[in-house]
């Protein structure tokens, strides 16, 4: 594996990750208004996928894992294996806030927050939906 100086890309990572979070909030609001909107569902899926990929790349594995949970959740909805229930919206918005919190910690201290309890709770909760 080639060793790159990832620090040089940290500001671009943070900038784009925060843009994805802002777009997630906009699209989650749209989804509350129309839970069956296929374009919005795909966009939410795509944004969680992008956030996951960026965080794995930068080595922030817990933040990436949290994104992966909702990427998989919205992938299943996108593939019509599940339907979106708006009652889960507060849980998703809470996760988006946790992701933002982790980004802020990465920005200030170069460390992600420990999202392990969130990951366990979500994996247990979402598997029952």
């Amino acid at each position: 594996m080639t060793d790159f100086n990832l620090a040089a890309y940290k500001s671009l990572y943070l900038k784009t990750a925060r843009e994805h979070i802002a777009n997630l909030r906009i699209n989650l609001e749209l989804l509350k208004a129309d839970p069956a909107d296929k374009k919005v569902i795909y966009e939410v899926f795509r944004l969680f996928h992008s956030l996951k990929s960026q965080n794995y790349f930068m080595g922030f594995e817990k933040t990436a894992h949290l994104c992966k949970i909702f990427e998989n959740f919205f992938r299943a909805i996108n593939e019509s294996k599940k339907t979106f229930n708006p009652q889960i919206s507060p849980v998703i918005l809470k996760t988006v806030a946790d992701l933002e919190h982790s980004l802020n910690e990465i920005d200030k201290n170069n460390n992600e927050i420990d999202l392990t309890p969130n990951i366990i709770n979500l994996e247990n909760g979402l598997s029952q939906l």
Binding site: M1, T2, F4, Y9, L12, Y13, T16, A17, E43, F45, R46, H49, S50, K52, S53, Q54, Y56, F57, A64, K68, E71, N72
Partner: protein
């Protein structure tokens, strides 16, 4: 050698375009599948590096369109995937993609090796 990187995420696009240019490749970029198809026709790359989950047209739609065009069909495609996309990679291969790399692992030597293998084995290059 001309490469086209079709990737919606500006973070990955900027990183990989910079690194590939440093290695001497002529790199063009597209930020969604629709633009990617246009640039495949105009830029005529020796190889396309293709993301799957993108706006407007996803990577599967790009591959289907390429298969229907005798010129585009000859361009080798390296899928740009991440962890958890094993099913996507298999589907992409069934639609004509040659191989894949995990963009989140940034194993740049592996990427270069795959680019070299695919362009050498392709009669277009």
């Amino acid at each position: 050698m001309k490469l086209l990187l079709i990737e919606d995420d500006i973070f990955f696009r900027r990183f990989y375009v910079e690194k590939l240019k440093e290695k001497g490749f002529v790199v063009e970029e597209a930020d969604d599948g629709e633009q990617g198809l246009e640039k495949l026709k105009t830029f005529k790359p020796d190889l396309a590096v293709l993301d799957i989950i993108m706006p407007k047209k996803d990577g599967f739609e790009v591959l289907r369109s390429m298969q229907q065009d005798p010129t585009l069909k000859r361009i080798p495609v390296l899928v740009f995937s991440t962890l958890g996309q094993e099913t996507d990679v298999e589907k992409a291969k069934s639609l004509g993609a040659s191989d894949y790399v995990n963009k989140s692992l940034f194993d740049f030597n592996q990427l270069l090796a795959k680019i070299n293998t695919l362009t050498k084995s392709n009669p277009k290059s």
